[in-house]
């Protein structure tokens, strides 16, 4: 009993610093965001007025907020689906197929992940340049030089997809490597048996590979979806600044603009609360939807 008590003290002593840091730097600021969302406040003075839920009321009447919400949601869905689809397929190909230069390909795929968002944004801004960009030059090979080049970052109808392209390019390599690590643990005998029974590669992918790395997919999916909210903000700031005419505004860029540019700090925090609740709901939904029986091998 005394040993257990001593162990408990030791564990508490080891864990306490982490808990204190966690509370000070995560829990308290999060609670503070909730508290500040009930004030009308410019951010730099002590002149705060308690307004209750008024900031939320205004938020739900704002077209700009709905546009930011729509853009965020579109990016989350689009970027997640495409990134995961490509990462899984590429990981499977590089793990199972006997491709020449596999190691080189792995490195090439992983490179975007080590580049900063600013560098990637600069690369993609150059690729998307309407006059001298690689993308329009490539498309012109098929459609002929056109007098009206596609405005990848200037046309409100497509600019959000242009941002998605950069985000996908940045993320694929990292998740591909993650899945390759998981796939390496799958016993080769399972695939050999499937081969003997005449199962195609695609069939094996869906019936062996995916189910056996599902726990990994599930964990990374939740993490990726949540981090996309943050990444989309960084890409928007670096590539479009929310423009043209607010068409690429996402949750956090709208929050940032309101809190720091429009002197509406309380309103900005209300957006932060919505982002929190949205992330919470999204994580819960993903958790529920992706729940499967855990397979062991």
């Amino acid at each position: 009993m005394e040993i257990k008590k001593g162990q408990g003290r030791f564990i508490f002593f080891c864990v306490a610093p982490a808990i204190i840091l966690f509370v000070v730097f995560l829990i308290i600021p999060t609670i503070n965001v909730f508290r500040m969302s009930t004030y009308k406040w410019g951010g730099y003075t002590d002149d705060k007025t308690f307004v209750g839920l008024q900031n939320f009321e205004k938020l739900f009447q704002s077209d700009k907020f709905y546009q930011a919400f729509q853009n965020s949601l579109l990016l989350i869905i689009l970027v997640t689906i495409i990134t995961f689809a490509f990462a899984l397929v590429f990981a499977s190909m590089l793990s199972r197929e006997n491709l020449k230069g596999q190691n080189v390909l792995r490195v090439i795929f992983y490179i975007p992940n080590i580049l900063s968002v600013v560098v990637i944004s600069a690369i993609f801004s150059a690729i998307y340049d309407p006059n001298s960009g690689l993308l329009n030059a490539f498309l012109n090979l098929f459609r002929g030089a056109t007098s009206d080049p596609t405005l990848w970052l200037g046309d409100q109808k497509i600019v959000i997809f242009s941002l998605a392209g950069a985000m996908i390019w940045q993320a694929i390599g990292y998740y591909m490597v993650m899945y390759m690590a998981s796939m390496a643990n799958i016993p080769e005998s399972l695939y050999e048996s499937a081969d003997l029974e005449g199962a195609s590669r695609i069939h094996q992918f869906f019936t062996i590979t995916i189910p056996l790395i599902w726990t990994n997919i599930r964990t990374t999916l939740t993490f990726f979806v949540i981090s996309t909210i943050n990444m989309s903000f960084l890409f928007v700031v670096a590539m479009t600044g929310g423009g043209p005419d607010g068409s690429t505004e996402v949750f956090l860029s709208y929050m940032y603009k309101e809190a720091y540019t429009n002197s509406s700090y309380g309103y900005g925090m209300a957006i932060g609360v919505i982002v929190f609740l949205f992330s919470f709901a999204l994580a819960a939904i993903l958790n529920a939807v992706t729940r499967r029986e855990h397979l062991e091998y």
Binding site: F25, Y44, T45, D245, E258, Y260, S263, G272
Partner: protein, 455 residues
Amino acid sequence: MRKVLSLALTAALSLSLAACGGNTESNSSSTSPDATNTSKNSNSTAETRTLKLAALETAYGSDVWKEIISGFEKANPGVKVESTIDKSLEDVIGPGMKSGDFPDVIHLAVGQPKGLTETFIKDNNLTDLTDVLSMTVPGESVTVKDKLIPGFTDTTITNPYGDGKTFLMPMFYSPTGLFYNADLLEKKGWAVPTTWDEMWELGDKAKADGIALFSYPTTGYFDSFFYALLNEVGGPDFFTKATHYTEGIWQTPEATQAFDIINKLASYTEKTVPANGNKDNFTKNQQLILDNKAIFMPNGTWVVGEMGQAPRAEGFKWGFTALPAVKAGGDRYSYTFFEQIWVPAKAKNADLAKQFIAYLYSDEAAGIFAKVGAVQPINDMAGKLEGDNKLFYSIYDGGAKAAMGAFATTDPVEGVSISDTVFGTVDSLVTKAKTQAQWVEAITKASDQLRGALK
């Protein structure tokens, strides 16, 4: 319960990631080569007083401030100036101010990306600088007011609360208008348009030659353009009514004329402009003028230095004109852009900050600034200029009228930004994502919301 807790923590993490996102930008900016220049000796002693200066590093560079500081310290023994001069000043000083560490004096104009100055104005967080006007300029026998060109301290920018008090002092000024390649027009035999009708005729001729009539760096540059245009279509009274959100003002024939002109100009704008109209690529839109791909762009005199190293068409020569008149013989306006310097209400050394500001209008300081092309609104200053600056600053001698002021200050109205609504929409007019009617409707709605919040 454990599951709910873990989900909540995941969501909280996303919120903290958001905070990190904001910080990323400020961190990166603070590591710029010319970032914070902080004096080594920052301790105040009984003999030494320390003045904290924060100044935005603009096209004029940061060295000029070092020279000014040296001059001020020399003239004021026992005063030490700690300076923070940075291209991303708002990011650098913002976090400190949130924790109560305010610079004593800040050189940062309204209209910056983060709107820090506007935030201080909206929060009534500025020190009244009216008494600086009656201070004697150090080392001289005249007052600050006597040295300043009349009108600069009577604007809605310097006197944001309409109570006759000056809270922001004018610093460097620059006439704004339309910049173009004078050599191109000469070679083509095209005259610089004096009316908007002539402008459209030129636009058609240029189009036939594969040249766009118009470009703009970002939609933010439409502020000075729009203010000058409002003066042209309705005179100063109309401008004042419009910038004070007078009910029904946007449905008047004068406003409609201004909207028509901008909408028509959008159709003459180089199509690729909205794609580069952001803080990282805006120089590509300016480059269109240097490459003879577009004729006019709204800008200020700083553009010459900003594009100083850029390649250009053979024979390129800067030209500069006021906005064309709405009818032959009508008034032509050039908006006077000026930067401001101000003192936060919580500055610890407001008295010293006022002395510093007064020193900035001395002949000594004006001479230092003028060396880098930073021209202050001081009497007779324009007469001392040479080269391109002489051409630019003589625009008012050629008959153009000066317009000053901006949209009136209001209390913060959540989700409403008049500059985004009025100017930001120009991109959508160019790409035809929005119609003129939608634009006017949005401006009217924003104006209605801001009217009740006027300071």
